[in-house]
């Protein structure tokens, strides 16, 4: 069954590559746990940058969270922001360099807990940036504590008996809130658990990036993701849990889309 490398290479020469690691994604082994959605999100975001041909004009902002090392994988200029402050950092960049494409990549703890103020005001000001929001209903990096988006009855290391609404409040649907701000231009919720969802999520990221040219406001792409490690599940099982538990509460789909006239000069 084995083949030599040459044989394989030769064979592939005659075939068309239809799907490959984008050149905007560095050829480094990512530190994410097996099956973690961060990896897919990274890849499709970088594919979008590549497809738009904007690598030279793109500046990314990494959060504090499992994706803190995003700059080790994404082959664009990047800044590592303090926990929760990614959109403030992005605002600083974008206001000085309005012609650049600026995005943040943030977890639910980063964006919706400690960073709530920055998030709300960035969107309210309608900063022309893309916010990529990875909602895995948990604090991955620090070992599985409750996130604002943790589901009711979900067990985490700080809700060992399950989250209770009466005590810890309900999971925060921050994306729905943000969509209502006039500063929000394009807001959508996606996932990366199936091939078709990955395709859709990538389309959303493409839009989110290219709309920046219009200067019409903030684009926000939420990606409902998993954390097999801290959910205490195998990746396949985690994605099943995601479908059964997260998607009903965080339904996928667009929340705010630009009108035709908004984008006709895109």
């Amino acid at each position: 069954m084995e083949k030599s490398m040459q044989e394989i290479e030769h064979h592939h020469d005659e075939m068309n590559i239809v799907c490959e690691r984008p050149s905007t994604l560095l050829d480094a082994r990512m530190h994410y746990c097996p099956g973690c959605g961060h990896g897919v999100a990274h890849r499709i975001l970088m594919e979008a940058v590549e497809e738009l041909g904007i690598q030279e004009q793109t500046i990314g902002v990494a959060p504090v969270g499992c994706s803190v090392f995003a700059y080790l994988y994404m082959n664009v200029d990047m800044q590592e922001a303090a926990h929760g402050r990614a959109t403030a950092v992005a605002t600083g960049i974008k206001r000085c360099f309005p012609d650049k494409y600026v995005y943040t990549y943030q977890g639910d703890g980063d964006l919706a807990a400690i960073g709530t103020g920055e998030t709300v005001h960035t969107v309210n000001r309608g900063e022309n940036i893309l916010i990529v929001f990875i909602n895995n209903a948990i604090y991955g990096m620090t070992g599985g504590q409750m996130a604002p988006t943790t589901l009711i009855h979900q067990k985490t290391s700080t809700t060992p008996y399950g989250r209770e609404a009466s005590f810890m409040g309900n999971p925060l649907k921050i994306t729905e809130l943000l969509a209502q701000l006039p500063g929000a231009f394009y807001v959508t919720r996606q996932a990366v658990n199936t091939p078709v969802n990955v395709r859709r999520a990538k389309k959303a990221l493409l839009n989110g990036l290219k709309y920046q040219k219009l200067n019409k406001g903030t684009c926000l792409v939420e990606i409902v993701s998993n954390c097999p490690t801290n959910w205490g599940m195998k990746p396949v099982q985690a994605n099943e849990w995601l479908v059964e538990n997260m998607l009903p509460y965080y339904p996928l789909g667009d929340m705010k889309v630009p009108s035709k006239e908004d984008i006709e000069n895109a």
Binding site: H31, C33, C66, M141, T229
Partner: protein
């Protein structure tokens, strides 16, 4: 008495917990004890080690540069800590996966084919207990019975059925340690 030992290996080999069991046993025997972990920079996987001190006196530093005993469960740990054994001290290692055996002659070198033995005991997770058994046989830091008592206290009730297996492993480790001839 004073025993300063480092347990070193990959994450997942049970390095940290063998240290904890030893510390717990020390406590039962009314010793002063200290268990100091050191995790590799990687969040998961990577190297792991812990320093355990068991002493009849107040323990000064939990961080130590030279050890009475080094227990190395893989090649990188062996390479890293071989030179840290005090002259006259003990170096115990899992010889199953070792390519480059230790070279020092001024110490008691104890190769234990622990992984191999664990396979024989039909439970690879028990490897660390075999090594711990060897350590107990060699160093007299605490009594093997105390370790078993510690295990009973540390393990949740639902895992108590594993205690006989652990005992077997400790015993086997002790036998292996005594049968091995010191290299020096």
């Amino acid at each position: 008495m004073l025993e300063e030992v480092i347990f070193a290996g990959f994450g997942g080999q049970g390095v940290l917990s063998m240290g904890q069991v030893l510390a717990y046993a020390g406590m039962i025997e009314n010793r002063e004890v200290c268990w100091m972990p050191s995790y590799g920079p990687e969040m998961r996987g990577g190297t792991a080690n812990c320093i355990v001190t068991v002493s009849s006196e107040e323990i000064s530093s939990p961080i130590i540069g030279r050890f009475d005993t080094v227990v190395a469960l893989n090649q990188p740990s062996l390479d890293k800590f071989e030179h840290s054994v005090k002259p006259g001290g003990t170096l115990i290692y899992d010889s199953t996966n070792i390519i480059d055996p230790p070279k020092r002659t001024d110490i008691d070198v104890v190769p234990i084919p622990a992984s191999e033995e664990a396979v024989k005991l039909k439970n690879t997770k028990i490897m660390n207990m075999i090594v711990l058994g060897a350590f107990l046989a060699k160093r007299n830091a605490v009594k093997i019975e105390t370790v078993l008592e510690a295990l009973r206290k540390v393990l949740p009730e639902r895992h108590h059925h594993l205690i006989p297996l652990n005992e077997q492993a400790l015993q086997r480790g002790g036998e292996l340690a005594k049968s091995e001839m010191p290299v020096a």
